[in-house]
């Protein structure tokens, strides 16, 4: 997996567009177990990222990731802003300190996941975005060298998001619902899945 600047630009564009396109679905999921604003919040954040696409793509990777993070922090308007923002800020920070893509992808991704976990004081198993991010990190750690790694990430993310449906939420707004949170895919897990799948699709040269 190599990552050239032009690849990064199209990848970021596809990812942002997919999140924006999934806004109605994310909102529906969030209306079931949250406060119903995840779709519009993510849409606002990634529209702001799209608006800076040229400037972001012109930056070195580490600065580009930090700009994405800061943009999400400043524009999303819900808890997902600091959560996704912290992911990108920490991943960018890792790249600023002797980590390189693609060789250190798992470590860079791990920095992002760790930041989400700290920001949300949460861990996998609580029906959150971490229930997608952590299994994907595990797949990156074990299978990064495999030729089918992109496919592995795609299926891992999809299966992991679906596995949040039977979970009972113990973090975030959904935890207020207790057992009534069971039966719905977590909106944050779903948006993480949308982002990761868009990145995979872009890397495989599909729209």
């Amino acid at each position: 997996m190599s990552l050239q600047p032009e690849t990064f630009k199209s990848l970021l564009k596809v990812a942002a567009e997919q999140v924006i396109a999934s806004a109605p679905e994310l909102t529906t999921l969030d209306q079931a177990i949250g406060d119903g604003d995840h779709g519009t919040n993510m849409k606002r954040g990634f529209e702001a990222v799209l608006g800076k696409l040229d400037a972001i793509s012109a930056q070195p990777f580490d600065e580009a990731l930090k700009t994405i993070g800061k943009t999400l922090v400043m524009t999303v308007g819900g808890a997902s802003g600091p959560l996704y923002g912290s992911f990108f800020l920490a991943a960018g920070e890792a790249l600023s300190h002797d980590k390189h893509l693609p060789d250190d992808l798992a470590e860079v991704f791990a920095s992002g996941v760790d930041a989400v976990s700290k920001r949300g004081r949460s861990h996998a198993g609580e029906k959150t975005m971490l229930d997608v991010l952590v299994p994907v990190l595990e797949a990156l750690k074990t299978d990064a060298g495999r030729p089918d790694i992109v496919e592995r990430i795609r299926t891992t993310a999809a299966e992991a998001a679906e596995r949040t449906a039977p979970m009972q939420a113990t973090k975030g707004r959904a935890s207020f619902l207790g057992p009534r949170s069971v039966g719905h895919v977590d909106p944050g897990a779903r948006s993480s899945c949308v982002l990761l799948q868009a990145v995979c699709a872009s890397l495989e040269g599909r729209p």
Partner: protein, 130 residues
């Protein structure tokens, strides 16, 4: 004005934030600086890191700033806002684990007496103690 801890109120709703600030001013007076913000970057229900940063800077006191929040996203966004402050200000801002209205009034009352940031926070957080 700058010899008391300041209070910042962060709600998902600007009306709640403003109403809470009004109560603090009426009950505690004007010797404690109070700033408030509410609403997402588009003005709907939610919170905005940029608005929180502005509110902290507006209310700034060298004795520190205590933030009172309502629901989860307000807390997460407030913590993020603190990290985005100038480094020399970060350690002088705390997000209190306390109910927003009662916490703001108790914190401001304590601040008005000239208490430290730690004392102001402790008084607000007593409201959340088991």
């Amino acid at each position: 004005m700058n010899d008391t801890v300041s209070i910042v109120i962060v709600s998902h709703s600007k009306d709640i934030a403003k109403g809470t600030a009004d109560m603090v001013r009426q009950m505690v007076g004007s010797e404690v600086k109070v700033a408030f913000c509410g609403g997402n970057p588009e003005g709907g229900l939610g919170t905005s890191v940029a608005l929180i940063v502005d509110a902290i800077n507006d209310a700034w006191s060298p004795k520190g700033v205590a933030i009172l929040v309502d629901l989860g996203g307000a807390e997460t966004n407030s913590e993020m806002a603190v990290e985005m402050l100038d480094p020399e200000r970060r350690d002088l801002v705390v997000v209190c684990n306390a109910p927003i209205v009662e916490g703001a009034v108790m914190a401001a009352t304590e601040a008005a007496g000239g208490s430290s940031l730690a004392e102001v926070r402790a008084v607000a957080e007593e409201l959340s103690a088991d």
